[in-house]
Subunit: 331 residues, 2 copies
DNA sequence: GATACAAATGTAAACGATTTCATGAAACAC
DNA sequence: GTGTTTCATGAAATCGTTTACATTTGTATC
């Protein structure tokens, strides 16, 4: 790899001049300018982003960190896609850190990101009291949260109205005549899980349905937890006649259990899931789901982050996107 | 962020000694050693990976590039997971480059990766004649290919036996009595697509089924292409009575079309897909599919890459994992 | 007691860029 | 002709490491 020095030598100028041409920072004679450009082409010179990053901290290192809790979850993959699209368009690359809901792994990744001198971070923190992420914000690193906020700290957030989305789903079930609506919730440490649970409870209350604690179970937001908790609910003496599942993976896991038990949806048990997938229509039966605009969440987060990198003093924005109930055949 | 200089000052030694302690590269007095460790702790010093990478090229910068064609494809997400697991265990982080099957974007990303001074690359190149990836191999960068190889270049590859997997699927359909087996193939520029097509043709031949070109269509391996090409095949005067779909997304797209047309699987049309998903069982009906061990592919690729970084002269390995036909209800 | 060697540490150059400051030449005003 | 700008460029410091080389001290060898 040719360095700036090689280019300078070849063009017969100093590296300072080369740098000036590259950043057209100040006036340089047109003739030398062309000489330098020629040399750059001939040597196929490419500036080293590493050197640039080391030298000008706080300057544009063009590197972002993305911290997500579970890359198996299609929701985060879509968010990631949105981020990547925006990042790429702005000449940023992203380091993907999947911490698999493991706080130790999360901490390790945050250390590394700091050490990599990233320009900004998009994170779905492990909890809203996530000390490590909070500290990074306080240290002045541009941060945008997705799906979850941070307690007591003003930070950009992009999310959906989880409470309203959950309410819409459960309300729909109630109005459709289901009386024993169960809920498989995600990790209670995750704010969005709690908000969805709140929506669930509120919908029960407003429809005068009793809340029965045995029908509310908590898992860790994985496929496996969906399988097992559905098993648990459906084995009850009086099992729910409808399920509201807290996310993508839980839904798919629950479906697995329902099918294994040869139960008919929606006659034996109805189901509405939080998170839509573009193949929800091909499920058996087509799944009714609360759609989060995941890709768009990623895009918005990416845009906010790049904005904040350029203007660190902009006041924090909390962006709430709308969820939408996609009614299909599963209830 | 504290630097090595700060540590040195605090411990009353020179930065060289600090560096020696950190890399325990040569003997340093136990007493000063402890002093330094204490200073490191007090200052919460963390070495800068950027500076390290700049200084010692070829040394361990602990940064890998991953170049994948389509992050929407669950197959690659699983591969990515496998890579990430291994990378994380070895203190590497990965820059994820999703080029969305766009060669220009791929080229741009490769430039950037070079400029980021990555230690190694795991790539699913756009084609087996991918000039840019080839050049990186020739330049001595450790590279492992997944899912696809490179023509005329000896390079580590991890993939499955695509031909055999496809054969097994189509052979199964034939033996089950289907006579008009259609195939929605992926991009013919992708080696794995061609191998799957070869397996398809071979299975037809060995079962004495005529090959009808109108039942073989090519798309770009996306969900959308699955929707549209299934539409095309099923609109033929004599439509296929069974479909073999070339990948994950094509399968899901084809299912969408089949359901939209209210066709019954497998009575109206049977389907076997390449690529399994852990929720295949929840599809309508449970999907028969050729399973690729995607997560394991990622792990193996990660291991090979780290090996190669440590020993660049090791002879290239081509690792072929087994695919498996998961028979369920869709045929 | 001079020489040699090992251990412990420091000095300074390098990696590849950016950026401040200095310098020289040309242009202009008086 | 001297002084002041302006334009074009170069020299050198800097970012935070690693590492080749130099230096100091203590100890073993003859």
């Amino acid at each position: 790899m040719a360095s700036m020095n090689d280019v300078a030598r070849r063009a017969g100028v100093s590296i300072a001049t080369v740098s000036r041409v590259l950043n057209n920072s100040s006036s340089v004679n047109e003739e030398t300018r062309l000489k330098i450009l020629k040399a750059i082409k001939e040597l196929k010179y490419q500036p080293s982003r590493v050197a640039k990053r080391l030298r000008s901290k706080g300057g544009p290192g063009n590197l972002l960190g993305v911290l997500i809790p579970d890359i198996q979850n299609p929701f985060y993959v879509d968010v990631l896609r949105g981020i990547e699209d925006i990042a790429y368009k702005n000449n940023y690359v992203i380091i993907v850190c999947n911490f698999s809901q493991d706080e130790k792994k999360e901490a390790m990744y945050l250390d590394i990101l700091e050490s990599e001198a990233i320009d900004g971070l998009i994170a779905a923190p492990a909890s809203e009291d996530d000390v490590r992420v909070k500290k990074m914000v306080q240290n002045g690193l541009p941060v945008v949260c997705v799906d979850r906020g941070l307690n007591g700290i003003d930070v950009d957030v992009v999310w959906v109205n989880n409470d309203a989305g959950a309410f819409a789903a459960v309300d729909y079930l109630a109005k459709a005549g289901y009386k024993r609506i169960g809920h498989i919730a995600g990790l209670p440490t995750i704010p969005s899980s709690r908000l969805r649970e709140a929506g669930y409870r509120r919908a029960l209350a407003e429809n005068n349905l009793p809340f029965d604690p045995q029908w509310l179970v908590y898992g860790n937001s994985t496929y496996k937890s969906g399988v097992e908790l559905a098993e648990k609910l459906l084995s009850l003496p009086t099992p729910p006649d409808a399920l509201f599942t807290g996310n993508n993976l839980i839904t798919l896991g629950a479906l697995e259990t329902i099918h294994k038990r040869k139960l008919h949806i929606p006659n034996d048990v109805a189901i509405i899931g939080f998170d839509d997938m573009n193949w929800s229509n091909s499920l058996n039966p087509p799944l009714t789901a609360v759609r989060q605009p995941a890709y768009e969440i990623g895009q918005r987060a990416g845009e906010l982050l790049i904005q904040r990198i350029r203007d660190p003093k902009r006041a924090p924005i909390q962006m709430t996107l709308n969820s939408e109930l996609m009614v299909r055949g599963s209830c």
